[in-house]
């Protein structure tokens, strides 16, 4: 009923001369899990299932994963969080589905949002279809104990220096 109303509204707008952004018709995006708790530096997996609920096969689709911080002041570079964020799905037949898994690397602490948008490959004016937002809560983790660096930083050159001196002394004694 709603879909019929929407189509009618779009048709009315189109006939009135206004540009209407079409969505990949009938494609739904389901993400899981929707809430993830992890630690800094860990990898988590996010699965996205794309289903064609429409009456006809879709054209080629492109899915894109987006990453952003829910708090201002936290800089998030999505490239660091997940490589290959853009996936080319191909076409989906009527009733068909496809699942994509993204490996996401927790780079910053805090509350992070992930969402996936799908657009048709041949339709730059189309409005993307999106799924629900995944909330990623990243807890801090102390990964580097700098306490041991001084013995290492001094020890290795000292050890090499002693070895060098020892070799020279041994050679002179010969």
């Amino acid at each position: 009923m709603f879909a019929a109303t929407l189509v009618a509204a779009c048709a009315a707008l189109a006939s009135s001369g206004l540009a209407v952004a079409a969505q990949p018709s009938g494609v739904s995006v389901a993400l899981e899990p929707l809430r993830i708790h992890t630690e800094l530096g860990r990898n988590v997996l996010v699965h996205a299932t794309f289903r064609n609920n429409g009456p006809a096969a879709t054209g080629s689709l492109i899915a894109h994963l987006n990453v952003l911080s829910l708090r201002s002041g936290v800089e998030v570079d999505p490239e660091d969080w997940s490589t290959h964020r853009t996936r080319y799905l191909g076409t989906l037949p009527t009733g068909g589905s496809q699942t994509i898994t993204w490996k996401v690397h927790a780079i910053n602490t805090g509350k992070i949002a992930l969402y996936v948008a799908v657009i048709p490959q041949a339709g730059l004016s189309s409005r993307p279809a999106t799924g629900r937002t995944v909330q990623l809560v990243v807890a801090g983790r102390r990964t580097l104990n700098s306490g041991g660096i001084l013995p290492l930083a001094l020890g290795i050159p000292a050890l090499l220096g002693l070895m060098s001196g020892g070799i020279q002394v041994a050679l002179r004694r010969r």
Binding site: L40, G41, E79, D80, T83, H105, A106, I107, N108, T109, R141, R142, T143, L144, N145, S146, G148, I149, L150, L152, A153, L154, I156, P157, L160, G161, M163, S164, I167, Q168, L171
Partner: protein, 269 residues
Amino acid sequence: MELAVPTPPTRRARGWAIVGEQELRDLWLGGRGMLLGVAFSLLLSIIAYLTATNQALNFLEQREAVNLTLQVAIAVGSLLALLAAADAVSGERERSTLESLLLAPVSRLGITSGKLIAALSLWAAAFVITVPYVWFLGRGVGLVGKAVLLGLVVGTLLAVFLASVGMLISVFASSNRVSLSVSLFLLLAIFTPTQLPSSAQKGWAGEFLLRVNPLTAGEHYVGKIVVNDHSWSEDASWLISPLVAAAVFFFLAAFVGARYMQLGRRASE
């Protein structure tokens, strides 16, 4: 009846081993190699100390700290191999010891191969020295094994390339000073693209320059795996130029260098 007469390939093989052993003795027991090793470890100590004591070090920066240490180790370790190779023939010529070396019952290929091996031993030592630093910086993020193996592969390719270039220059240089100067100039030229602004490195021309230059290509590959956690195969095309450069220049240094090795060179050459 087969007699135990040494065949030419065996003699050649023994020749490079003898030259290599002698060169290794000169380098390591003479103290020059150990001194360079101490200087190299001091450099890595300073870098590791500065990065490890950075209080704001988060996960990504820890990976970048490993990347920085590894890239410096590869670059400086390769430089050491280049300098040793740049002295290999021109140094012998200047010390008036090349004549006795050429008169020794060793093929010229054996001489160039043995000297290349000795020069590469500096990279091997630099790599061994690097391991504890990489272990310290990368242990919290499960990066140690990958970074060490990556450093070994990329560093060895670049060290073979640069040592071979140094050897070729040394064969054709009129003096040791010329050989070292040209080698250092060449090294600086090879490093120049790393100093270009990131905007200049983009586009087909920028990427082509980075890909063709073995040093920038190798370091780019290291960065992609260590910092961006890419798989080994994902950016494998970046290893083409280090691989090709190492193979081609090793062949040139060993065979062409052996062919054109002469007792004296005119100053104009």
